[in-house]
C-alpha cells in the first residue's frame, strides 16, 4: 500500500476562487449573487478557511492561485488585506488575483495592493464597450468609474485584465471590446459566456450556438487586428475557443484542479455551478474533495460525457455549468457548442 498523495501534482497549480464577502455595491442584471446584504465580515472565519486551504495545499504539494472576490472585494478592504497578508506569507500560495467591479478603487488602495509581491493581476469587469451598454448591465455611472479605475491600475504598473461577461443583452458590444482593451492598453481581455441558471435567465440572456460562433469569430478577428504590436492578449483558455484556434481552449478545471469557496466556507465546484459540495469549516476540504459524487462526476472524461469522440475534447469538453443548467446533466454536450 503506497502513500502517494498524488505525486504527479507536485508544484502544479490549484485554482481557488474565494468569494470572501457576499456584499456588493452594484446590482448587475446578470449577477450570480442572491443576497447582497450580509454586511459583517468575520475575520476569524476567513482565517479558519485560509488554514484549511493552506493545509490541503501543503499535503497535496500544490501551489494555490487564489482569486479574491465577492460581492465586491473593495467594499471591505480590511478583509481583503487580512487575507492577502496571510496568503503572502505562505509558501503554499503562489499568486493572488483580485476580481472587482472597479467602482471603489482609489489611489490609496492601489498603493496598498501594490506592496504584495504575490499580486498577479487585478481583473475588472466591463460588460460593454461604451457607457450605454455597460451601464445598461451594471447601473448608471459605473462605466466611467470603472474606466477610470482601469487607467489608475495600469498607470500604477499593476497587471490589469478585463472580464467581459457575454450574454444576449450585450452581444453587440463583444466585438468592440478588443478595441477598448487596446485603447486602455490593458494586459488581458477575457470574453466569457454568462451561465443562465434558470428558465427565466435562459429566455433573457442565452445566446444560441450559431450566434455564439459568429461572436467568437468576430472577437478573435478583432483582437488579432487591435492587439497587433500591443502587449494586450485575448484570454482563450476556456472551453469552445479551441473551435476558433487549434492552439487555444482548455478543459473545464472544475473538480480537477479548481474550487470555489463562498464567504461562509460553503464549497462549490465553480461559482457558476451552484451545487453545494459541503463546507470547508465543518467538513474539511479533504472529505469533500475525496468523496463528493458531484466532483467525481465532473472528473469523468473518457467516453462518459456528451463530448465523447469529439476531436476537440482534450482542449474543450464544454462548460460544465452551462451544460448542467441547460440539460440538468453535468456531462452532457455544451448547448452553445456549434459543431
Amino acid at each position: 500500500m503506497d502513500g502517494y498523495n498524488d505525486k504527479k501534482n507536485i508544484n502544479k497549480d490549484f485554482y481557488v476562487q474565494w468569494h470572501f464577502i457576499d456584499s456588493c455595491n452594484l446590482r448587475c442584471v446578470h449577477c450570480y449573487q442572491n443576497d447582497y446584504n450580509h454586511k459583517t465580515l468575520d475575520l476569524n472565519i476567513l482565517k479558519d478557511i485560509f488554514l484549511k486551504l493552506d493545509e490541503a495545499m501543503a499535503k497535496w504539494k500544490m501551489k494555490c492561485f487564489v482569486s479574491l472576490t465577492g460581492g465586491e472585494p473593495f467594499l471591505k478592504p480590511e478583509g481583503l488585506f487580512y487575507l492577502m497578508d496571510m496568503i503572502e506569507s505562505s509558501d503554499n500560495f503562489k499568486n493572488i488575483a483580485i476580481l472587482t467591479n472597479g467602482t471603489l478603487i482609489d489611489n490609496t488602495l492601489i498603493k496598498k495592493i501594490k506592496n504584495y509581491k504575490k499580486l498577479a493581476e487585478v481583473q475588472v469587469s466591463l460588460d460593454g464597450h461604451d457607457e450605454e451598454s455597460h451601464d445598461g448591465v451594471r447601473g448608471e455611472g459605473t462605466f466611467l468609474k470603472t474606466i477610470n479605475s482601469i487607467k489608475m491600475l495600469k498607470n500604477s504598473g499593476i497587471k490589469t485584465a478585463v472580464m467581459f461577461t457575454l450574454h444576449k443583452k450585450n452581444i453587440g458590444s463583444a466585438s468592440n471590446m478588443p478595441r477598448l482593451a487596446a485603447l486602455l492598453n490593458i494586459d488581458a481581455l477575457t470574453v466569457e459566456r454568462m451561465t443562465a441558471m434558470s428558465d427565466i435567465e435562459r429566455d433573457e440572456f442565452f445566446i444560441e450556438a450559431s450566434d455564439l460562433k459568429n461572436v467568437y469569430f468576430d472577437v478573435y478577428a478583432s483582437a488579432k487586428t487591435e492587439f497587433k504590436n500591443k502587449n494586450t492578449k485575448l484570454s482563450v483558455s476556456r472551453p469552445l475557443w479551441n473551435l476558433i484556434d487549434e492552439n487555444a481552449g482548455g478543459y473545464c478545471p472544475a473538480g480537477l484542479s479548481s474550487l470555489c469557496i463562498l464567504h461562509d466556507g460553503a464549497l462549490l465546484p465553480c461559482r457558476r455551478l451552484y451545487l453545494p459540495l459541503g463546507n470547508i469549516l465543518t467538513d474539511g476540504l479533504f472529505k469533500v474533495w475525496y468523496n463528493s459524487d458531484i466532483l467525481w462526476k465532473l472528473r469523468k472524461r473518457n467516453g462518459e460525457n456528451g463530448c465523447a469522440g469529439c476531436s476537440h475534447a482534450d482542449k474543450c469538453g464544454g462548460c460544465k455549468a452551462i451544460s448542467y443548467y441547460y440539460n440538468r446533466d453535468l456531462n452532457s454536450k455544451d448547448p452553445q457548442c456549434w459543431i
Binding site: M1, G284, F286, N291, W296
Partner: protein, 98 residues
C-alpha cells in the same frame, strides 16, 4: 468483524483504486486485491468470508490470500483505518490476537 473507520473512504475511478484519509488528507493507491479486501470490511463479513471471496475472485490459494490479507490488515489496524467491531478495544487487541 472488520470494519472500515468512518474517517477513511474507498474509491475506484477509471483506472485507480484509492483509499482516502479524510482527516490527514493522505491518499493511498491500492492494488485491486487490497481494494477488494477493504470493500469487504463492512462489519458483517467474517475474516473467513473475506478470504473465501478473494480466493474465488482472484484465483489465489487460501495460503496466498491469507498472507496478503494478514499483511494488509496489520498495516491498516496500525493506522486505525479499520477496526474490529467485535472487540471493544478496537484495533489494538485484534492486532495482538493475530
Amino acid at each position: 468483524m472488520l470494519i472500515l473507520a468512518d474517517t477513511v473512504s474507498l474509491k475506484q475511478d477509471e483506472e485507480n483504486f484509492m483509499l482516502f484519509d479524510n482527516i490527514s488528507g493522505n491518499i493511498y493507491k491500492l492494488n485491486e486485491l487490497s481494494y477488494e479486501i477493504l470493500s469487504l470490511c463492512d462489519g458483517k463479513n467474517t475474516d473467513e468470508d473475506i478470504l473465501l471471496n478473494i480466493t474465488e475472485s482472484f484465483d489465489a490459494t487460501i495460503t496466498e490470500a491469507e498472507k496478503d490479507f494478514e499483511g494488509l490488515v496489520r498495516i491498516l489496524l496500525d493506522k486505525k483505518y479499520i477496526y474490529d467491531n467485535d472487540n471493544e478495544k478496537g484495533g489494538e487487541l485484534y492486532e495482538k490476537d493475530l
